[in-house]
Symmetry: C2
């Protein structure tokens, strides 16, 4: 007997047949003797429609009212899933965020979960009832208003609920059947990973393998929630995201990720003085422009070239801010390039193995791919290349690290 | 300065343009110095879709989950209306049933309002904020679950809120511009009534003039809430539903109503014994079959014919119940006729005036319309005629009582 949180995303509850399918899957776990809580998203397309209505009425709408409107999507699904479960003989009850309660801060539209009261749900699960909980939403208790957690927030709801319920596992049902060594659309021979560590999942998620929302992985790691990613349309085991202690054989490289969402900015002949970096990145950060890779070489004759990446959508804003500060910063020219891709190799095993980076550089060189920027972390090596080379680079690295099935 | 509750139905908030129109109307009242609370229904069509989903998943769905699903319709509208109001500079905030709270009993799907906590809303209205309250929904507080008041329940929400807020008026905006002496589709010369008493409105509503939900009129009468019915699409005064003391000149007949929703049942040669009526109507009532007009004449040779009407949709059930009890009841034959219409003349003035009924019978006789059943109350005379004669009868009576414009 295990206690399981099962989370179903928007495509998994996209119509009544799919909702019946969800109910059947839940029943199977209940029949196997497990205690089950369900977390669901809005039916696919619903949230977009609701967001658009708010936007159309007022681009600068009140986030508190936006939350009232968009939270209805999940509310519809919990009621329908509860009805579908009851129809096949599974005792079920729906729970909105304010009913559990799932308490959040008051950052409407992107609230953070502060706490979940799990006792009553545990009591009901022990009596055989299946709580069907609305994902993505909560309540801020100072003003008693509905909040939402931001797009993709249902994953976060599921992990937070699993932690509060002391669940043995949090199963995230989605339209892919697990986490792969890389994007199977680029490398058909990509393999599904049976197990992957939180740290690896985080690195993969943050560089474009959008199977799980990043914040939900962070929370799972912090709370020690074992997460399984699996398909709601097929019947096969998925990928388990766990603490690295649970992974016996630690691969040097677990996967190859890529992201085309970045743009490169170079400040040419920036004065090489203490404090110059702070003066460059302070205003960007103040304007909520996220800066990712930063490279600065030792300069010559008192100046240096500094290169970094920003989100591609933020590039015009970054250019604007930096050009306005040109005289103050004292650089000679700003050169930007949105046609770049970040390619990363990720693996907890590389901590204890040398040679990961050199394998990477060699593999890319053999294909004639020029590396523009390099950045490394404990379990990741990332390079920036011209975006035309994305697929070629991913395939070359997938082979070079022996990941091909 | 007055305190007004403005209620907008589903067609009045059917799309974003109409929601902007609602906001503009609210702003006009606010700009005139009034304190305003708004009650809204779901966008037209939404509730039907949500109900259908519940039905399709399970015809015998849990009413508690049905309420969770259908209550979302109004929740969407309150958020959108609040955004639309803020966009034109009106301070506004949405309120769901559980937030106000609007406390109901636990009869899910058709709950009754037990109380509304109005103090916080009044405080905010006095500070210039417009509360936008979800109609149709409430909360039952023993289990903290969302309830709905049944179809048309937003009128009831508005009247109950007006009572709780001690509002001077409850304006019901709808797709007709008031209450007419009869259906203008049948009698183009029908007149809009400036004022009508609660009692008359009730009789008109219950016999087919579905401008206001019956329970909302009952509540308005009980709580002394002045209700105005007016169009959300045109700019002209509507009809005021008030206590009859507020009506100076009491017309003998205020309006002519009709209903095609009834069916006639006759039990031939029913034994004329004490208690027989109870044995006929007891089982019907137990099966929730509403019986309306009942006529029983003095019998001869120990038996009588009894005629009554039931809702047309209930006719098969009524026939079934009575035929099963045929031996016990001892009647000779059951004759039914679904092709009947009930025509009523309504007016508080008829209490003090004789001759209302005879005018009616004479007018119908002149057109060769046969009266099948007659029933009278203090302020109403109703007859049953063959349904083919409905329009002819309504027109004849409208003229006979001098109601033609």
């Amino acid at each position: 007997m295990a206690r399981i949180v099962m989370k179903f995303g928007g495509t998994s509850v996209g119509d009544l047949d799919r909702i019946r399918n969800v109910a059947a899957r839940v029943k199977r776990e209940v029949d196997a003797g497990h205690q089950v809580a369900v977390v669901v998203s809005a039916m696919a397309g619903t949230t977009n429609q609701l967001v658009k209505w708010c936007q159309d009425l007022s681009p600068l709408h009140d986030a508190r009212e936006y939350d009232v409107v968009v939270a209805t999507g999940e509310q519809v699904t919990i009621g329908l899933v509860a009805i579908a479960l009851q129809a096949i003989g599974v005792e079920a009850r729906s729970w909105q965020g304010w009913q559990v309660p799932i308490v959040t801060d008051n950052a409407h539209g992107k609230a953070r979960v502060e706490g979940i009261e799990g006792a009553e749900l545990i009591r009901r699960m022990e009596e055989g009832q299946v709580p069907v909980v609305a994902g993505f939403q909560g309540i801020e208790t100072t003003r008693n208003r509905v909040t939402t957690l931001g797009r993709g927030g249902s994953d976060l709801s599921a992990v937070a609920l699993a932690a509060a319920l002391k669940a043995d596992r949090c199963d995230i049902y989605t339209d892919v059947d697990g986490v792969y060594t890389t994007d199977p659309r680029i490398v058909p021979r990509a393999k599904k990973l049976e197990r992957i560590s939180y740290e690896e999942m985080l690195e993969l998620a943050s560089v474009g393998a959008k199977v799980l929302q990043t914040r939900s992985v962070e929370l799972a790691m912090k709370e020690g929630v074992r997460v399984q990613v699996l398909s709601s349309f097929e019947d096969k085991p998925g990928s388990l995201v766990v603490d690295e202690d649970e992974i016996m054989e630690k691969p040097i490289v677990s996967g190859i990720a890529y992201s085309r969402d970045e743009a490169k900015v170079t400040l040419r002949r920036l004065p090489d003085r203490p404090g110059v970096a702070a003066r460059v990145f302070g205003p960007l950060s103040a304007a909520n422009v996220n800066v990712d890779m930063i490279v600065q070489n030792i300069g010559a004759d008192g100046s240096t070239d500094m290169t970094f990446t920003v989100g591609r959508a933020d590039l015009p804003r970054a250019q604007d801010i930096l050009n306005k500060a040109k005289d103050e910063l004292g650089f000679e020219a700003l050169v930007s390039d949105p046609e770049v891709a970040k390619i990363s190799v990720v693996g907890i095993g590389m901590r204890t193995h040398a040679g990961v980076a050199s394998t990477m550089f060699k593999a890319l060189a053999e294909k004639g791919i020029n590396i523009q920027v390099i950045s490394t972390s404990e379990i990741k090596v990332s390079v920036l290349v011209a975006s035309d080379y994305t697929e070629l680079a991913v395939r070359a690295l997938h082979t070079a690290y022996g990941l091909d099935a």
